[in-house]
């Protein structure tokens, strides 16, 4: 049996699965990079002042949320479309809709996590000099997260209203 290009790619189920993948992998890459950037900066500080671990780990956890948001969108798509149950039958339109809904958190998650990681890493050098100023470092990093939250909300509202 010959399987054409359009049968594989222009296919509602494929696009929906692609949506799950995009939401999860883009935002997770961003979070992994963000958390990694902070971790590298933090290890340098901890070698001099291990007592600050508790404060540092809070900053490192911050860019991790984008991955969680992406994961959530992925799971919500799976729940809404019944992928958890196995058989999925989606029209081309629904599949494309789902892929589009996954894009905001995927793309914004990717970039915002990296930028947030850079701000949090700068926060690490802030607390290296002034450990009491951790709150300011956290707030600066949380400013970046706002946009991931907005993207997450949009993705989520779209997913919740999927016409299946």
């Amino acid at each position: 049996m010959e399987i054409g290009f359009s049968a594989v790619f222009a296919n509602g189920n494929f696009l929906a699965y692609l949506g799950v993948a995009v939401a999860v992998f883009l935002s997770s890459i961003g979070s992994a990079r963000g958390v990694g950037i902070v971790g590298e900066a933090a290890s340098g500080l901890l070698s001099e002042n291990p007592d600050l671990f508790g404060q540092v780990v809070v900053l490192q956890a911050l860019p991790g949320t984008q991955g969680i948001y992406g994961f959530l969108i992925g799971v919500m798509i799976m729940l809404r479309t019944g992928m958890m149950g196995g058989a999925v039958e989606l029209s081309l339109g629904s599949g494309a809709y789902i892929l589009a809904a996954a894009l905001p958190i995927g793309i914004v998650g990717l970039f915002s996590a990296i930028y947030q990681g850079r701000v949090a890493a700068a926060g690490i050098s802030l607390i290296a000099k002034k450990p009491d100023e951790i709150a300011k470092g956290i707030v600066m990093a949380a400013m970046v997260e706002t946009y991931a939250i907005l993207a997450f909300l949009i993705s989520m509202l779209l997913v919740l209203n999927i016409p299946v």
């Binding site: 809070v58 956890a61 911050l62 991790g64 949320t65 969680i68 948001y69 959530l72 799971v75 919500m76 958890m84 951790i134 709150a135 300011k136 956290i138 707030v139 949380a142 400013m143 997260e145 706002t146 939250i149 907005l150 997450f152 909300l153 989520m156 509202l157 919740l160």
Partner: protein
């Protein structure tokens, strides 16, 4: 609220200074300040001077005691999570016997440490000798043997590039009666021994040198290499035993570590007293002390001072004088001071948004975490920690904050019908085959728009409250018109814009309100500019701030997002846990997944709720009125590390 401060001026006889300071430390509510801020400081300085206090000796003593504590700490039993610090009375400050005991322990610890260091260096010397003998292990000639009647006997070291077989051949070819015995070789060097007739020395050495060989001497060693190596080993064993012995001695001393710790805290308090003492101005017979005292502690201080022969007076801070900031709030609001303190202390002439901030933080934290199960854990965990754990004042406040946050989380969790996510219906369905309905008021999953609107509504109230606080601050300073123009007109405009969304006549009212508000802003917002054109321009430009208020409001959508995140992850944990189905194994898997998954979810989302609830306060709320820059009130008090000093029985 920012506590009212009063300045204390105190004059006394020099002999009394130490006891006064020590008493003030026990009262714990006086910050001894520098007299430099006094208006007549210049004249005073001509009459009086700073007496040097004996800080150096105390610092020395402190660091000795600290080293002893560090040295003994590995031998002490591990402290439990709920260990309480011992309580002692202030009479420890004059306990000479304690200091003598601590001194004795310090000396013994230092001796033991010295001995251990000494033995370790001896061990490394023996190890070095042992290693240097290693290559010649198999030679069974005594090391002190250097010659016989006719021959010389020598130990040689060659670089690793030397070819000893070639050397042997060369020696044989030259017809010298020399015997080269090749020994071991390592990465860097080759080792050998040689015996030859005394007369051949120059010739033999020419050949040895041609391969880069040098002679090795064993100073003062007797017996064969193997014997010496055995000797080294037994000596190392002996030294190790002695180290063991010294360690046992330290371990015995660890039983008395409590004395050293108490002594450390006593010396620390004495050092704090000495540091305060150095801020006193003195003549030969009198001293003068200036200090900040919270107004409501004045009674306590006065009732002590009347028992002394000191002259004292209290006065209000001068208008330009910056006094230290102490936040004073009711018991329920107090834990939330942590959030303000982490941001900045307010300027002493400004205001502390006590209960307003606390109320909103309480609501936001709960609605962001929004799971009654997690709330119960935080609430009861916090209560247990407060009851059982020995926390520092800041830790105590933080724990109370978590406990109260837990309470709010329980409330919002119940509103959302979320108890460990959808654990209850999921368990009922999978393990008992029953459909259980959990009551709820709002369902963020199926009706997110309602919750989003609720979030925006909470945000608008929050923002309006911040503007009200700003107006209050302006009114307190007598700037009535500023309050009307900068806050009142914005209220008019923003409320008007909100009413535009309402139906019927309200929308019409909104239209006129927003028009009046906008015109008012255009006319007033440039009022500090010199000419009419600039004023108008600034006024029009100020309307751009509408977008600022809009983005502030959108920022509150995180309330919905974080609440959903908790709920959805919780549900996913429950769904994954119940995938193996209804069986014994399935149930065990469910328990494991449930514990791990919910712990992780609680940790991530409690952190998220803390961070984002703080952010909403810091950026959206504080940003509108808060003036930072206060200096924390740091009273002279028993600031101890290992013991809890108090004379009260409770």
């Amino acid at each position: 609220m920012i506590a009212k401060m009063e300045k204390l001026l105190l004059y006394g006889l020099e002999g009394e200074a130490d006891s006064v300071i020590s008493q003030l430390l026990q009262l714990g509510c006086v910050e001894i300040s520098n007299p430099e801020a006094l208006p007549d400081y210049e004249q005073l300085k001509e009459l009086m001077q700073y007496k040097p206090a004996d800080q150096y000796n105390l610092e020395q003593q402190l660091s000795r005691l600290w080293s002893a504590i560090i040295a003994l700490s590995p031998y002490e039993p591990k402290k439990g999570l709920f260990a309480q610090r011992p309580r002692v009375g202030f009479d420890c400050l004059t306990d000479q016997a304690l200091m003598a005991r601590a001194e004795e322990i310090c000396v013994q610890v230092e001796e033991a440490l010295q001995r251990i260091a000494d033995l370790k260096s001896r061990i490394s010397r023996e190890e070095f000798i042992g290693a240097s003998l290693q290559p010649w292990q198999e030679l069974d000639l005594p090391l002190e043997l250097e010659e016989t009647g006719k021959t010389y006997f020598e130990y040689l070291i060659f670089p690793s590039t030397a070819d000893l077989n070639q050397l042997e051949a060369d020696l044989a070819e030259a017809g010298l009666g020399a015997l080269l015995s090749q020994q071991q070789a390592d990465r860097d060097q080759k080792y050998a021994a040689v015996v030859y007739y005394k007369g051949d020395k120059p010739h033999v050495w020419d050949l040895i040198r041609s391969q880069g060989g040098v002679r090795h001497h064993f100073d003062r060693l007797q017996g064969t290499p193997a014997e010496n190596a055995a000797l080294c080993r037994s000596r190392i064993q002996g030294f190790s035993d002695e180290i063991e012995e010294a360690n046992r001695q330290l371990s015995g001393l660890a039983a008395q570590a409590a004395d050293v710790k108490l002594a450390y805290d006593v010396v620390k308090m004495k050092l704090d007293c000495a540091r305060s003492h150095s801020k006193l101005l003195s003549t030969d017979h009198t001293f003068m002390l200036t200090a900040w005292v919270p107004a409501d502690s004045r009674q306590k201080i006065e009732s002590y001072l009347t028992t002394t022969g000191c002259y004292y007076q209290f006065r209000e801070p001068e208008p330009q004088e910056d006094f230290p900031v102490l936040l004073k709030n009711s018991k329920l609001v107090e834990p939330f001071e942590v959030i303000t303190e982490l941001y900045a202390l307010p300027n002493p002439r400004s205001m502390d948004p006590g209960w307003e901030m606390a109320l909103f933080y309480f609501i936001f934290f709960g609605i962001m975490l929004s799971d009654a199960g997690y709330g119960l854990i935080l609430f009861f965990g916090g209560l247990v920690a407060l009851k059982k754990m020995d926390l520092a004042p800041f830790g105590k406040k933080f724990m109370k904050l978590i406990t109260l946050g837990g309470l709010s989380t329980i409330f919002w969790g119940a509103v959302y019908g979320s108890w460990f996510g959808n654990a209850i219906p999921q368990i009922g369905q999978v393990f008992f085959g029953k459909t259980i309905e959990v009551p709820f008021l709002l369902d963020p999953m199926n009706d997110p728009v309602t919750v989003l609107l609720l979030s925006f509504a909470l945000g608008i109230v929050h923002i309006f409250a911040a503007m009200a606080l700003n107006a209050k601050l302006l009114l307190q300073r007598g700037k009535v018109w500023d309050a009307v123009f900068d806050v009142g007109l914005w209220y008019l405009l923003l409320i008007g814009l909100l009413l535009l969304l309402a139906p019927g006549n309200l929308a019409v009212a909104g239209k006129y309100m927003s028009i009046v508000g906008a015109i008012g802003l255009v006319l007033t917002q440039g009022r500090d500019k010199p000419n009419i054109l600039q004023r108008l321009f600034s006024g029009v430009l100020s309307l751009y701030n509408v977008s600022g208020y809009l983005s502030d409001m959108l920022s509150y959508s995180r309330i919905l997002a974080l609440g959903l995140a908790t709920g959805v992850i919780g549900n996913v944990v429950n769904i994954m846990g119940t995938l193996p189905g209804n069986s014994i194994v399935g149930f065990m898997v469910f328990i494991a997944v449930f514990l791990f998954g919910h712990t992780l979810n609680l940790a991530i989302n409690a952190l998220g709720a803390y961070v984002h609830a703080s952010r909403l306060q810091y950026v959206e709320f504080f940003g509108k009125f808060f003036e930072g820059g206060g200096r924390p009130f740091a009273p002279l008090r028993a600031n101890t590390k290992f013991v809890y000093v108090t004379d009260r029985e409770d």
